[in-house]
């Protein structure tokens, strides 16, 4: 008797297995290899480097507008490169959208991206585009300090306005930043030091000193803002727009400041993945992201990056780029140096005990 139950159960399970494949795969990236047709259809998968809600809003809007089913996976910059490389022969993604272009450069160097000069890219200023059209910038962010005023008060430390301030012994264990291997934000921090101090050795030297004040290296680049917001640390190193977002979400003790020596910035990019299974739709997506309309979605979900399309709206909460001191950030050099530099960081700094 019980055996019948079990047999029925087993059959049901097998059916469920088959059906789950359908449930799980709301899109099947295998069957829309329409390479030559002009029709937009099927689905695309985006590797998305910005915040989850931003990714959600973008993909939903695109789907609503074009009917192409857009899915995304939120990944940090390093993870994206790793995944693209792992799936090199059988790409799981069609587009990389959002996240600092340093990573895009690394991906391009590894032959994982395909050049695409979108018609809409003409509107975007040159300084925000890859010379060879491998990626185009969709937003700009300034790297800054996201500090918790309450904690700073308790520590008796002023709001930091220079990189040297971060080395203050009073801030021991009070800094939060991400891991440069996995997070574009943290790599930007690292490369900023290299640029302003004049070389890789000097840059790593600074990071070594700062390491003593770091609580722990998070996986995601935006987490340090949250950690500071909750009072776990005094200062988080994030792009200023992320800090503003957290302020809006209710972490009201946060305040934004920038180092006077000059800081780095990120260009958030969009790029076509080589070997995309739905190139037409992917390209349409890229075209769409470069429009003012698409870029304006950012502020609606609390993302206050400065937008690259000159026609896009300017929000008060966005940073005024002209008010900040920037270093001369070389994206190409940064991209080239990334693998070696992050490996050195891992080996020489990350796992070291703090003094």
């Amino acid at each position: 008797m019980k055996r019948i139950h079990a047999a029925a159960g087993a059959t049901a399970m097998s059916l469920a297995l088959l059906m789950s494949g359908c449930a799980v795969t709301s899109t099947d990236s295998g069957d829309n290899g329409s390479t030559g047709s002009d029709e937009l259809g099927g689905s695309i998968t985006i590797a998305c480097g910005a915040m989850e809600d931003w990714c959600q809003a973008m993909t939903t809007a695109f789907t609503a507008e074009t009917g192409v089913q857009a899915n995304f996976v939120r990944l940090s910059s390093g993870e994206t490169v790793a995944r693209l490389d792992a799936a090199r022969d059988n790409p799981e993604f069609d587009v990389w959208h959002g996240g600092p272009v340093d990573g895009f450069g690394a991906a391009r160097d590894a032959g994982l991206l395909e050049a695409y000069d979108s018609p809409n890219a003409a509107a975007i200023p040159d300084k925000y585009k890859d010379a060879d059209h491998y990626w185009t910038g969709v937003y700009v962010g300034a790297l800054g300090f996201c500090s918790n005023t309450k904690v700073l008060d308790e520590l008796g430390v002023d709001v930091p306005d220079s990189w040297e301030d971060l080395l203050d012994p009073k801030l021991k264990g009070q800094i939060s930043t991400a891991h440069p291997s996995t997070s574009g934000t943290a790599f930007t921090t690292l490369w900023t030091q290299v640029t302003r101090l004049g070389g890789e050795e000097e840059g790593l030297e600074y990071m070594k000193k700062m390491h003593n004040n770091v609580l722990q290296y998070s996986k995601s680049g935006t987490a340090p803002g949250q950690i500071a917001g909750r009072g776990e640390v005094a200062v988080g190193l994030v792009f200023s727009h992320d800090c503003v977002k957290y302020q809006e979400e209710g972490l009201t003790d946060l305040t934004v400041s920038f180092p006077k020596e000059g800081t780095g910035y990120e260009i958030g990019g969009v790029a076509l993945v080589k070997g995309s299974k739905n190139k037409t739709a992917a390209q349409a997506y890229i075209d769409w992201t470069l429009t003012a309309e698409a870029q304006n979605i950012g502020p609606t979900v609390g993302s206050y990056q400065v937008l690259t399309n000159p026609d896009a709206a300017v929000d008060d909460r966005m940073v005024k780029l002209e008010d900040v001191e920037f270093v001369d950030y070389d994206f190409v050099a940064a991209a080239a140096a990334k693998p070696g530099l992050t490996a050195r960081f891992d080996a020489e700094i990350a796992a070291q005990p703090k003094e």
Binding site: M13, S20, V73, E79, N90, F93, H179, G250, P339, Q352
Partner: protein, 580 residues
């Protein structure tokens, strides 16, 4: 989870008579199937990881293994394992002792609380602990005014001990329940007072239990990936190092090498525990344990024990209360406004996808794991002679191998189609380009991780059944399969049930193996929770955790109803010792 004493069938009271007759056809097919399944599910990935580890990049890591940095990582890992092993065992023993030797109201509740961490994802505790005891923790800063640093070894130790002690608890509970109470009385009757009895008689007999619990918790602690990522601070351990190597540096060889270093202690500990513990099974030697153990009535002892367990219970309740409440307020500890946005987030879009996918996949894997474990148990206790040890070992590997190792192995093995030369035998099962969005690989991982428990319970239960029962059934004309169906199966139902429950809970809450094989189409809840925690969105994480706990408990409740048949009288000897 718990590796009890009864893993290797030994000639005991019901001796295993030798099988001189050749195996019948059904059995032979079963053996071949089992070998094939185990081969694909565990042997292949392991082989691949081994070969990757000895690749150029991997060897580089091995060579640098004794560099100061890596040595530190190694040391960290061992220290963590030892601390968690010790503390978790003590907690588990305390609670088990109180269950068996004390009478008080709320015993059942304490038992359930002790099992609560089983049904929750590992970082539920970590996230709650940060919220409660962190720099700006509700308890530490707001109530006590202190700001301890939890990130790193202290926090990891606390969190891991609280997350894994249930395994020690169940282990010690089963052991203590099977102690012969007349031993205590014998000691008392010749003049030993309660304390002397405890120290000279009870404790020494529990040594195998302490040892196996310690070793078990050691392995679980060093294999854990989720918590070091969340609360590890700069306390790098092998698992997080491997993770960074793969996802950050994309150095699979290095990641494999780090994982391999993890594999060795895990396997070693597993082997030691198996052969040593089974050899020294000293729980009760003769006769039937008569009566129940004497209850402790001394007031001072009661006060001490009840206070300690009470504090522990309070801690656990607080932590899980935090998890539940945290999902319903904006930002717990900072802004305690009631807010449903976390649940809205979790129950819509990606959140609900992840929920459904994870539950469905776990539900699919559970019966498969249960059946697989049971069939293996049946083969090794009843049918096989020569291959017995090997099949037993292979079956248990899924649990002995650290989750990270398994995950990497799977990613390596199944990301591409499998075949010889140009002939593809299996399509890609994991990773982005996989069939069914990689769901199959995830189900496979779930199965191989949870079948060992069913195997172990099955072996323990089958050993308690006299072979003569099988023989009686055969002499009345029933075939092997019929006997299994009508006679054996009903008798081992409790073991089957516990195997299923464990399989489901484990699958739903596991992270380390699947983190490397999730795909855009297959979103797994634990992976989502990790992202939320890492991004600092604790509210969402709490909401996820709460829902996950609810799902697991509901399914366990359903399983209890479905599998249990009250018309089958509880067979003597198949007590809760087999349930873990």
């Amino acid at each position: 989870m718990t590796i009890s004493n009864a893993t290797v069938p030994r000639a005991r009271r019901f001796s295993l008579r030798s099988r001189e007759t050749p195996l019948d056809l059904t059995t032979r097919i079963a053996v071949v199937l089992v070998v094939l399944i185990l081969g694909v599910l565990i042997v292949l990935p392991l082989v691949n990881i081994l070969s990757s580890a000895v690749s150029e990049q991997g060897l580089a890591v091995f060579n640098s293994m004794f560099s100061s940095v890596n040595l530190q990582v190694l040391q960290n890992t061992v220290v963590l394992g030892v601390l968690v092993g010790a503390i978790g065992t003590v907690i588990g023993f305390l609670l088990a002792y109180v269950q068996v030797r004390l009478e008080f109201r709320g015993k059942k509740l304490l038992h359930l609380l002790a099992l609560l961490p089983i049904v929750s994802p590992p970082f539920a505790v970590a996230t709650a602990v940060i919220t409660l005891f962190g720099r700006s923790g509700i308890i530490t800063r707001d109530l006590l005014g202190i700001t301890p640093t939890l990130y790193g070894l202290p926090g990891l130790t606390i969190v891991l001990s609280l997350s894994f002690f249930p395994a020690a608890y169940m282990n010690m509970l089963g052991l203590m329940r099977s102690l012969d109470p007349s031993l205590d009385e014998a000691a008392a009757s010749i003049g030993a007072n309660k304390w002397r009895t405890f120290v000279t008689v009870t404790l020494p007999m529990l040594v195998p239990g302490f040892a196996s619990s310690f070793l078990l918790l050691f392995v679980e602690a060093i294999a854990d990936l989720a918590n070091p990522l969340v609360i590890g601070g700069d306390f790098t351990v092998l698992s997080s190092r491997a993770y960074i190597a793969i996802t950050g540096e994309y150095n699979v060889g290095a990641g494999a090498a780090y994982s391999l270093v993890l594999l060795l202690p895990g396997l070693l500990v597993f082997l030691i525990q198996r052969y040593w513990a089974t050899r020294k099974s000293v729980v009760s030697v003769t006769g039937k344990p008569a009566g129940r153990p004497a209850v402790i009535t001394s007031i001072p002892a009661r006060i001490v024990l009840l206070t300690l367990s009470g504090l522990l219970a309070l801690l656990i309740v607080t932590i899980y209360a935090t998890v539940i409440v945290g999902g319903f307020v904006k930002i717990l500890g900072i802004n305690n406004e009631f807010d449903l946005s976390h649940y809205r987030y979790v129950l819509s879009g990606i959140g609900s996808d992840a929920m459904i996918t994870t539950t469905v996949l776990a539900l699919i894997a559970t019966p498969i794991a249960g059946v697989l474990g049971l069939v293996i148990a049946w083969l090794i206790t009843r049918k096989l002679r020569r291959g017995r040890g090997l099949i037993d070992f292979l079956g248990m590997l899924g649990l002995a191998v650290p989750g990270t190792v398994l995950g990497i192995g799977y990613a390596l093995t199944f990301n591409k189609p499998l075949g010889f030369g140009n002939v593809a035998i299996l399509p890609a099962l994991a990773g982005g380009g996989a069939v069914l969005g990689g769901a199959i690989a995830i189900v496979m991982v779930y199965v191989i991780r949870s079948s060992p428990s069913g195997q172990r319970s099955g072996v323990a239960a089958l050993q308690q059944i006299d072979v003569a029962i099988d023989e009686a059934s055969a002499s009345l004309g029933a075939s092997g399969v019929t006997t299994f169906r009508k006679v054996t199966l009903p008798l081992i139902r409790p073991a089957l049930l516990s195997g299923l429950i464990y399989a489901f809970a484990r699958s739903m809450t596991t992270l380390s193996p699947i983190i490397f094989i999730t795909t855009p189409q297959t979103k797994i809840m634990t992976s989502q929770i990790l992202s939320e925690v890492d991004a600092g969105r604790f509210g969402n994480a709490f909401a996820y955790c709460t829902i996950l706990i609810v799902i697991v408990m509901s399914v366990i409740g359903l399983l209890n109803l479905f599998v249990r048949d009250s018309s089958v009288p509880k067979a003597a000897g198949l007590s809760s010792a087999t349930i873990n």
